[in-house]
């Protein structure tokens, strides 16, 4: 996997996904190792994403590496009008790998074509966020003991939700049954339904989850304000799909609630203490998964 870029989740084969997940398991047992000593990794965040950035920086720091970069476009040369190509070609001279978050869709693919060092996409607009997808897969495998034949509930904003789209694609390798629960105006786009049709996988669409939640193995929810062009639509939606503690009573024993965080109010805070709430551990898994991604791309593992 050395020198490979991670731009889109579809860049990795099933075997490569398993390799990352197995490696992440090793890092979970032993997260502090000096594998990145002498390495410099650039973290270029053209838009702020505190959580993703800190997770990457923690992963690098625990492995003894150094990072350089910026935390939003305002403090970079982009403000002076530099093109992405010029920024990447310059920073590639200073670093062994570039981790980039950029609101422009397709920017990570373009960066991977002009960079002499590997690019890891930390989110390109509404397109891809593959390291999030890999940590989701890690969390699912860890809690369920397998990725095969699971019933996954996707709840909330299924139209704009990048996390949903990438995980849906990745889970299609594992005979998943999909339940999509969203308001009418935020339904899963047709192109993803066509994708599942082609793969011959089962999916169901619902407006409400209260009657069917007992079937779920994985319950994943997200509604994001910044993906809505109409703030009215966001206000209407954000309260319609709140998960509360009493709803967990009739769920399966192995059922886990996932959320990429930050949460707004899709999950009531009284769920946090329930053993089915997994989102904070999921965030911790992000560090191990990113350690696995960085070291395997640099050819150190």
């Amino acid at each position: 996997m050395k020198n490979k870029n991670l731009v889109s989740i579809t860049d990795f084969s099933k075997d490569e996904v398993f390799k990352i997940l197995d490696l992440a398991e090793e890092f979970e047992k032993n997260p502090n190792q000096n594998l990145l000593q002498g390495k410099v990794i650039a973290t270029l965040f053209f838009e702020p994403s505190t959580r993703t950035r800190l997770s990457f920086e923690s992963a690098i720091s625990r492995l003894g590496g150094k990072y350089i970069g910026f935390t939003d476009a305002g403090s970079s040369s982009v403000k002076k009008g530099e093109s992405l190509k010029d920024t990447i070609m310059t920073v590639a001279n200073y670093s062994d790998m570039i981790i980039m978050r950029n609101p422009i869709e397709g920017s990570a693919r373009w960066a991977s074509e002009v960079s002499k060092v590997p690019i890891v996409n930390a989110g390109d607009g509404a397109n891809q966020h593959p390291t999030q997808t890999l940590l989701d897969l890690y969390s699912i495998r860890k809690t369920q003991g397998t990725l095969d034949n699971l019933n996954v509930f996707f709840v909330g904003d299924l139209k704009y939700g990048r996390t949903v789209h990438s995980l849906l694609q990745a889970m299609s390798m594992f005979n998943t049954t999909y339940n999509f629960i969203s308001p009418e105006e935020l339904r899963i786009p047709d192109e993803y339904k066509m994708f599942l049709d082609k793969k011959g996988l089962k999916y169901y669409e619902h407006l409400d989850f209260s009657d069917i939640i007992s079937h779920a193995d994985i319950f994943m929810t997200r509604i994001q304000r910044e993906r809505f062009s109409d703030p009215m639509e966001y206000e209407k939606t954000k309260n319609s799909y709140v998960l509360k503690k009493n709803m967990l009573e009739k769920t399966k024993l192995n059922m886990k609630v996932l959320h990429p965080l930050p949460r707004v109010n899709e999950i009531s805070t009284d769920v946090d203490t329930d053993e089915k709430a997994y989102y904070f551990t999921q965030a911790l898994n992000g560090v191990y998964t990113r350690q696995a991604i960085i070291t395997s791309i640099l050819g150190l593992k």
């Binding site: 889109s8 093109s83 422009i104 869709e105 397709g106 920017s107 607009g125």
Partner: protein, 151 residues
């Protein structure tokens, strides 16, 4: 005796591209780069066609296209027909076929795509050939024929 009147004069050797939709003539000229070649070119547009209503036709002297080159016009002229002419005789007829991949030619319909922000040549995978739909190599979004803009 019937006299056949040609609306655009005949060529001795070369290629005739027929059945181009009249309003796509200049797209075809751009896509094939005909504005940059030195050969003799005659074209006609808004010609009556039983099949298409109004059509355009291009006659190119001493120009012959490779299949992958001519297939690029299938995006705008899917029903175009080619006659290869040698010594005033049609020696071969060809139809165009939508290719699997498209480089340049079309604009990505996603305003947030990198190709609409930096001077990058667009690249697409053709995901539907009948009702042409293109998936952008960069932003992975699909541009369908209704929203397709040709450079």
């Amino acid at each position: 005796m019937t006299e056949k009147k040609l609306q655009v004069s005949a060529i001795q050797n070369g290629t005739v591209i027929d059945h181009i939709p009249a309003d796509k003539l200049f797209n075809v000229i751009n896509i094939l780069g005909l504005n940059k070649i030195k050969n003799q070119i005659t074209f006609g547009t808004n010609l009556e066609s039983k099949k298409m209503g109004l059509k355009a036709i291009i006659k190119l002297s001493d120009v012959f296209f490779a299949d992958n080159e001519i297939n690029k016009i299938a995006l705008v002229a899917p029903e175009a027909k080619l006659n290869i002419v040698k010594d005033y005789q049609v020696v071969e007829k060809k139809i165009v076929e939508v290719p699997d991949n498209i480089t340049g030619i079309a604009k990505c319909g996603n305003p947030k795509c990198i190709t609409n922000h930096e001077g990058i040549i667009t690249k697409f995978q053709v995901v539907n050939k009948k009702k042409v739909a293109l998936r952008c190599h960069y932003c992975e979004k699909i541009t369908d024929s209704e929203h397709m803009e040709i450079f």
